[in-house]
């Protein structure tokens, strides 16, 4: 479904990515791991079009997408939940999801129709499925951190993506929140037949959730394989434990 081939990206003189490869097959959950600064977030931002790569290419369903802008990539069917919470603070939870649904339905330009009765069913359905239905009327900025992360995921789901990208979905969450969130990801992917690409520092979560793991270091791909193989790979041990005594 998604192929990343040898993408490079540098900022000033710092090479954040130098030849990273990745492939995500339809219906799989793929995790990207690697030490801080390995280029995980940069790679995600290149895939979603926030940054243009200096070299290499990104193919989504056989089509090159690296020259498209973020909103065009979203319309191709890639959706992303960001690492830092990225929601519409001053709007209600309902409006947050509704905006995404309306945008997905290409109704963003409608000027004289009242939005209050549009896409209500679908919006409520999405909120129901992530468990935020009761909070539909709250201003999003007043939610707890965990709920904001969940809302973020709900927004990402609202555009009916084929590929969902999660950048550290449980970062900063309490253990309970993490458990809830993990269950949520598992259930949502199963229900919607999603393909998921995510990166995470919580190794247990990665091992339990993913079908395949890609390991990055210094902007390069070290290995991409099933969890068991990755666990036993000497190269990964080197990368993760190399510096440790």
């Amino acid at each position: 479904m998604l192929r990343v081939e040898g993408i490079c990206k540098s900022f000033d003189r710092f090479n954040a990515l130098c030849g990273a490869d990745l492939h995500v097959d339809s219906g799989k959950i793929v995790a990207v791991i690697g030490p801080n600064g390995a280029g995980k977030s940069t790679m995600f931002k290149v895939i979603t079009g926030h940054w243009k790569p200096d070299g290499g290419r990104v193919l989504f369903r056989g089509e090159p997408i690296s020259s498209l802008s973020p909103h065009q990539i979203c319309r191709k069917g890639i959706s992303m939940a960001f690492q830092i919470v990225n929601i519409f603070n001053r709007m209600t939870v309902f409006e947050n999801v509704q905006a995404a649904v309306l945008s997905h339905r290409r109704q963003a330009g409608k000027i004289f129709r009242s939005a209050s009765k549009m896409a209500v069913g679908q919006t409520m359905e999405i909120l129901e499925s992530v468990g935020l239905r009761e909070r539909a009327g709250c201003i999003a900025g007043t939610l707890s951190y965990g709920d904001q992360k969940v809302l973020e995921m709900a927004i990402a789901l609202s555009t009916r993506p084929k590929l969902l990208i999660l950048d550290e979905p449980t970062a900063g969450m309490s253990p309970e929140e993490t458990a809830v969130c993990t269950g949520l990801i598992r259930r949502l992917t199963a229900e919607n037949g999603l393909t998921v690409l995510f990166c995470e520092h919580n190794i247990e979560l990665v091992l339990s959730l993913s079908d395949e793991i890609m390991v990055m270091q210094g902007g390069k791909t070290i290995i991409q394989d099933i969890p068991e193989a990755v666990r036993q790979s000497p190269a990964v041990r080197e990368a993760y434990l190399g510096g440790a005594p």
Binding site: M80, A108, R113
Partner: protein, 329 residues
């Protein structure tokens, strides 16, 4: 769970009913004003309405769109000049002038927007300020066409709308219609997405919104309504001067939005009433209006950044959150 959402729906419905009543009452008051008030106050009310429309049109992009619209007065002035010039130079029929003037503003909005919208937030504002000043400078220097710093006087208007009461009624009707339209726009999918862009441009892009295009549309719409306000200004005042599109006017209108509360729909109208009122009535006692305005503005920014209406709306929201919290437990 369904209980919570149905009580929310109920509350929204009762709120809507309250709103409808308030609107009707406001319209009736507006219609009756000329019967009870002396002429000067009728003129004053018309001026407040015009300025309120102008401020609300600014708030469309400033408060709802989160765009740094630093020079909105250009569109106000462009509408007024287009209207006056069509009547005096082209001798166009009144209806045509009324129709074309806001369109001229909208086209100007499109031009300035198209140049500015690609830039980042602060650049957008500063370049708009500069381009707007260019328009002002052209109007100011083009004596043969715009009358330079004398502006345009003796604009031929039919008696029915140039009398104080006539101008008032025309203004009131147009302003009410425009406010209704803008309210629809703010609550339309377009408006919701516009607010989403204000809150988080990066997120909006990631849900498939073409931010630049959306902002450009918003700019054109706001310019259009500002143009209508400009036409009404000519009707009320009977004259146009280049000072209308000087940049200080733009900032003064921003102060109105800030004073009323720019995350609320009626805030700018309230702000306009307060500022126009203060300017008119302190004018009788002191010439230090700019000192007064400056001090008010400082106080607002230091202590009341959400504006008067924002202050009222905010506690209501936190209460809502509280009830949802207890609902979950």
């Amino acid at each position: 769970m369904s209980e919570a959402s149905s009580s929310l729906a109920y509350r929204l419905r009762s709120l809507r009913r309250l709103e409808t009543f308030a609107c009707l009452a406001a319209v009736i008051v507006l219609l009756l004003l000329p019967f009870v008030l002396p002429d000067f106050y009728v003129y004053f009310a018309a001026l407040v309405l015009v300025t309120g429309l102008f401020a609300t049109s600014l708030n469309l992009v400033l408060g709802y769109g989160g765009m740094y619209q630093f020079h909105h007065a250009v569109f106000y002035g462009a509408g007024a000049y287009a209207f006056a010039l069509m009547l005096t130079k082209a001798h166009a029929p009144l209806w045509l002038a009324c129709l074309c003037a806001p369109l001229v503003s909208a086209v100007l909005g499109f031009l300035i927007g198209a140049i500015c919208v690609r830039l980042s937030k602060l650049y957008f504002g500063m370049l708009q300020l500069s381009l707007g000043s260019l328009v002002w400078a052209i109007v100011y220097r083009w004596y043969s066409f715009t009358g330079g710093d004398n502006g345009i006087n003796e604009i031929p208007l039919p008696n029915a709308i140039s009398s104080t009461t006539g101008a008032y009624y025309l203004t009131a009707v147009v302003v009410v219609v425009c406010l209704f339209l803008m309210y629809r726009i703010v609550n339309s999918p377009f408006g919701k997405i516009f607010q989403a862009i204000r809150d988080n441009p990066q997120r909006s892009e990631a849900i498939g919104v073409n931010i630049r295009l959306h902002q450009l549309k918003g700019e054109v719409i706001a310019a259009f309504f500002a143009g209508i306000a400009g036409v009404l200004y000519v009707v009320v005042e009977g004259t146009v001067v280049p000072d209308m599109l000087f940049w200080t006017v733009s900032l003064e209108v921003m102060v109105m939005c800030l004073l009323g509360g720019w995350y609320t729909f009626l805030g700018p109208l309230l702000g306009a009433a307060v500022i126009v009122g203060l300017r008119t009535f302190t004018g009788a006692y002191t010439e230090h209006w700019s000192l007064i305005l400056g001090i008010i503005l400082m106080a607002l920014i230091l202590w009341l950044p959400e504006g008067v209406l924002g202050l009222i709306v905010k506690p209501a929201n936190s209460k809502m959150e509280l009830s949802a919290e207890t609902g979950r437990k």
